[in-house]
Amino acid sequence: MTIELLNREALKPAVQEHIPRPAATEAQLQLLSWAAPVAILLAWEVASRAGLIAPQVLPAPSSVAGTAWRLTVSGDLFKHLGASLLRAAIGFAIGGAIGFALGVLVGFSRVAEASLDRSIQMIRAIPFLALLPLVIVWFGVDESGKIFLVSLAVLFPIYINTVLGIRQVDPKLLELGRVTGLSRMKTIRKIILPGAMPSILTGVRYALATAWLALVVAETVATTSGIGFLAMDAREFLQTDVIVLAILIYAVIGISADGLARFLERKLLAWHPNYAKEGRK
């Protein structure tokens, strides 16, 4: 009896540890994760109103919000945002198409690899932003130079990941293509491209990030439209509220681009255990 009692005592702490503590719910944690940013924003607002931060250095959040509203109502915001997004889209389409086409060519053909890959890798070694002065000389300060820079930024990540993806396709599945009598075109469509897709989409994600960086830099060169113009124009008049707003918009574009990439991955890689949310189509 005594022994049993002793044993029970000894067990007690261990048992207690297994009693589930009232855990924070998912929603509460979500709420908590926003606490710090909101607190910082509030502190910033208070400091600005109290005159601790000069508006020329950093405007109050409320002032930035007011500017955003003013520019939205006047239509300027959408005009400039539209101009920036159009540049990004055209540059992405051109650079992406060239990068993908070169990637497919080099991925499939050893001859193409031998003749093209070294040159492409050499050009890639140049930080594309270092080309900016040369781009201005070639294209002047109009749209084509900006689009060129974005295209260049997009081309390499798409190229490299397309080649990689094609090379990584499981040779056993290619062999299956042979025993099931697939034509060359069908092998590409049903086995090689889907097999390369995870890698290609990784390339798209990188490309979106670099395209957007290229856009920011390209838009600091004399322009008459775009988010970059908004910021550079505001700089002349020390309108820090507009500058901060432009920076925020760039941030939002960046987040949206990443969201777009994630969306594509979920759609196109639904079969992939790492991306799928649910089992069935």
């Binding site: 056993k172 599945l173 062999e175 299956l176 293509g177 042979r178 025993v179 099931t180 009598g181 697939l182 069908k186 049903k190 086995i191 889907p194 097999g195 897709m197 890689l269 639904a270 079969w271 992939h272 255990p273 799928a276 089992g279 069935r280 189509k281």
Partner: protein
């Protein structure tokens, strides 16, 4: 080649550089006949099967058979990005592809799973889809390279029953490579032993009592009959 033969192989020769793996091999398989091929590891079973599948070139001899036999590998080799029905009909260009896939999946006990992804299948189920993919082509010759080797013992026995049924219904000529003597005895009509680049022995399972056949085959393979082959 008569109409009821699935494949005839004459004087086949295959070498990797200096190393001759298949040397003067002869083999005939009739339609509907289930032939199992046993042999030590590395004796050239896979090499023979790949030659019959047209996957590898040969160095001599003739293969008189279908250009596109159906092949089932040790791994299921399902395309992870294609639904089960698309996997089953891969390379089959007919308007009724979906219907055929439904029927074939039904035959292997996976009715209603047409839209599912391969990753939701167990090893045995995946290999059944691979069987459906082979059968939907109504092949004259079906080549299987240790298709059940990776499955657990219980699943393997169920697969033996299933494949016998399927072969009895579709009647392709079958060449099944295996290293499992009991598997060969359980499902084959004829058992071949491969050695020194050729077919060294041939047994009809109907002619010999299973225990006796098992002992004989183990001896052929150089294994003492009282120790079970791995």
């Amino acid at each position: 080649m008569t109409t009821d033969t699935a494949v005839i192989v004459r004087n086949l020769r295959r070498s990797y550089g200096e190393r001759v793996v298949i040397d003067g091999l002869d083999l005939t398989i009739r339609k509907g006949e289930f032939v199992a091929l046993l042999g030590e590891s590395g004796c050239g079973k896979t090499t023979l099967l790949r030659a019959l599948a047209g996957l590898d070139p040969v160095n001599g001899g003739q293969i008189d058979g279908p250009k596109q036999p159906a092949v089932v590998f040790q791994e299921h080799r399902l395309l992870p990005w294609a639904s089960l029905w698309e996997n089953v009909t891969l390379g089959v260009d007919t308007a009724q592809g979906r219907k055929q896939a439904e029927a074939a999946l039904g035959e292997v006990g996976l009715a209603g799973r047409e839209e599912d992804w391969p990753r939701n299948l167990s090893g045995g189920q995946a290999q059944r889809v691979a069987l459906a993919r082979a059968l939907v082509r109504e092949p004259q010759l079906m080549l299987l390279d240790e298709p059940f080797a990776a499955l657990d013992a219980l699943t393997r026995i169920k697969m033996h029953v299933l494949i016998r049924e399927l072969v009895a219904r579709h009647r392709p000529g079958v060449l099944l490579v295996t290293h499992d003597v009991d598997e060969a005895i359980a499902i084959a009509d004829r058992i071949l032993v491969m050695r020194n680049g050729g077919i060294a022995a041939s047994y009809l399972t109907a002619d010999i009592a299973p225990p006796k056949l098992r002992e004989t085959l183990l001896q052929e393979l150089g294994v003492e009959s009282d120790s079970r082959a791995a």
